[in-house]
């Protein structure tokens, strides 16, 4: 049985609008105009225990709103949500003890005290037995190298160090389900990679289910086999990440370096020529024929250098958002539950 089930979830907000400038502010102080924002609209998916799923989408797509509904922070406007057999918005303690929510932009650590003090409070809140607490802390310490950070005031930690401690604070009760909302935001590349490795290792060791939102593509590509692409509150794609790439970009990018500007017609026999810049040419070659094409090219044309690249993930996702990919939903895992194909938004 699926561990997380979301069935036709919608969440609408009432927000007030403010016109710019002083007059606008005064007007909205006296009489507010309200507008309904459909943050999430008819979203359905289900996730099995131990899966790592990436939510992709631009800002304001509805990723965070979905996570908040799953965490029980928001009441769904309509639809049904179930996690570990619980209805999140009832916020029963038995449920709250089994998941964790990490938000890269918000912190729970006490600012003026060392992280260890927050850990001790969380231990009491989650009623973690002392022996378990020590074992878990030891493990997190090994994985995240917390050592000296634990006794330094949070305000003196760097952003990356603080994020490591935030993660530790969120995992002391060994949750079964992890909601990670932009956990690597603002971190440098090395620290992003450290956090990513940690999440992967944690998932391997404890079989925890992970939902990750990030707008760093690298986070998602490194961690998640499955992605759910959300835009303007709708699910645009749900399924295997590789499959998506192969479907949208059924080619590899072949870069050829010649010693003189090439004749386009000559190169066209090997694949679709997308760019020629002096002696360099870029071709799209069908995936299946990549190796064979390269061999043929090397045999027939004199080249200085040749290399294959995967199409840039950013470009692919952009195509999904642009609605340029027809029939994606029909092929996606949740085909049966997405009756209205929200395309070309």
């Amino acid at each position: 049985m699926a561990q997380i089930e979301v069935d036709h979830l919608s969440k609408h907000y009432l927000v007030h609008e403010k016109e710019p400038g002083l007059i606008g502010s005064l007007r909205s102080f006296v009489a507010r105009k309200y507008r309904t924002v459909k943050a999430v609209e008819d979203v359905s998916f289900s996730i099995d225990a131990g899966e790592m799923v990436g939510f992709l989408g631009p800002n304001g797509a509805g990723k965070t709103t979905t996570l908040k509904v799953l965490s029980g922070l928001l009441y769904p406007t309509s639809g049904r949500v179930s996690v570990l057999g619980f209805t999140p918005h009832k916020r029963q303690n038995e449920y709250l003890k089994q998941f964790t929510l990490v938000m890269g932009q918000k912190q729970q650590l006490m600012w003026d005290l060392p992280p260890l003090e927050t850990f001790l409070v969380n231990r009491a809140i989650y009623e973690v037995p002392k022996a378990d607490f020590e074992a878990i802390l030891k493990e997190l310490d090994d994985l995240l190298e917390l050592g000296p950070l634990l006794k330094k005031q949070v305000r003196k930690l760097s952003l990356g160090e603080r994020m490591k401690c935030e993660l530790a604070a969120a995992l002391l009760h060994r949750p079964k389900v992890l909601f990670l909302d932009e956990p690597t935001i603002g971190l440098d590349v090395t620290m992003q990679a450290r956090i990513r490795e940690f999440v992967a290792e944690y998932n391997r060791r404890h079989g925890a289910t992970v939902i990750l939102t990030s707008h760093y593509m690298a986070d998602v590509t490194a961690l998640c086999d499955r992605i759910i692409v959300i835009d303007k509150g709708h699910v645009l794609y749900d399924g295997n990440f590789r499959a998506l790439i192969e479907r949208i970009a059924p080619y590899k990018v072949l870069k050829v370096q010649l010693d003189h500007p090439p004749a386009t017609a000559l190169l066209a026999q090997f694949g679709e020529v997308v760019a020629v810049d002096g002696p360099t040419a870029v071709l799209h070659v069908p995936r299946a024929q990549a190796a064979e094409t390269a061999a043929r090219l090397l045999a027939q044309v004199e080249v200085d250098d040749i290399n294959f690249e995967e199409p840039a993930v950013e470009d692919i996702i952009r195509q999904v958002f642009a609605g340029r990919v027809d029939g994606l939903l029909a092929e996606a895992k949740v085909a049966e539950s997405s009756h209205s194909t929200p395309n070309a938004m």
Partner: protein, 262 residues
């Protein structure tokens, strides 16, 4: 219950550790407390230099009220003010999410998470003034009065707590409610005088609308052994009712909370 007592202990400890980070603050706090107690006492002294009794209270009896007023101010500054301020900030910034996803009563966690421990100086000072006043009166309260006083004090605490919590809860819709907290503080200032010194309408308002009388005057009457049973029952109803309302209101607010930013 035990669990919550332990958690409260941990919260206090953490708050104490925070304040130890800022040592100079403690000295400043103590000076401020003594200064304000001095101002209140001198003010009362000036009033009583013109009259034997005011609103039926002698100077020494009024001292009991001043002591209670100081004690409750200390309580407000130790527990209510810092937490209400934080609740307002958490609502504005969206970090209330961390409170709401914890497996504890969210009102407990939000309203008692922090304590400005050094303001307990005021609570101590208030207690000392009450004891000093009794000594000047040459009066030792009988055990029954003390028990009744303890009950009245508990109700007073519940009433102030509930008023502050309702103000904080309004922040779910109004976001910034700091001025409402200010408003309460101004009205609370009337608590340093016996409610009987006020006339008709104002006295009614201070008894039933913003029940300041229950916070200082009635507990003072209680320790002096002059409180009738009806008022005690009224206090219990008031304290219980307001506390019940504040929790229901909090629960309702959490339901409509939409958590700020993303």
């Amino acid at each position: 219950m035990m669990r919550y007592a332990r958690l409260f202990g941990l919260f206090l400890k953490a708050s104490f550790l925070v304040e130890l980070e800022y040592r100079a603050n403690f000295a400043a706090r103590a000076v401020v407390s003594l200064f304000w107690a001095g101002v209140t006492l001198t003010g009362a002294g000036v009033f009583y230099s013109h009259a034997e009794t005011i609103g039926g209270w002698t100077f020494n009896e009024a001292l009991v009220i001043i002591g209670l007023f100081t004690f409750m101010s200390g309580f407000i500054q130790t527990f209510l003010q810092p937490n209400v301020q934080r609740i307002i900030d958490m609502i504005r910034l969206g970090t209330l999410d961390f409170v709401l996803t914890k497996p504890v009563n969210s009102q407990f966690m939000a309203s008692l998470r922090h304590a400005q421990v050094f303001s307990m100086v005021d609570m101590l000072l208030g207690a000392v003034i009450v004891i000093w006043a009794c000594m000047r009166l040459g009066y030792a309260p009988p055990v029954l009065s003390l028990a009744q006083f303890a009950l009245m004090l508990l109700m007073a605490v519940l009433i102030v707590y509930s008023i502050w919590m309702v103000i904080a809860t309004l922040a779910f819709w109004l976001v910034k409610v700091n001025n409402m907290a200010e408003l309460f503080t101004s009205v609370y200032d009337t608590g340093r005088f016996p409610v009987t010194t006020f006339d008709g309408l104002i006295r009614l308002v201070l008894t039933f609308v913003i029940p300041i009388a229950f916070i200082t005057t009635f507990p003072a009457q209680s320790v002096l052994g002059r409180l009738d049973t009806e008022t005690v029952l009224m206090a219990v109803a008031m304290g219980g009712g307001m506390f019940g309302f504040s929790s229901l209101f909090w629960r309702y607010a959490v339901r409509s909370y939409s958590s700020a930013s993303s």
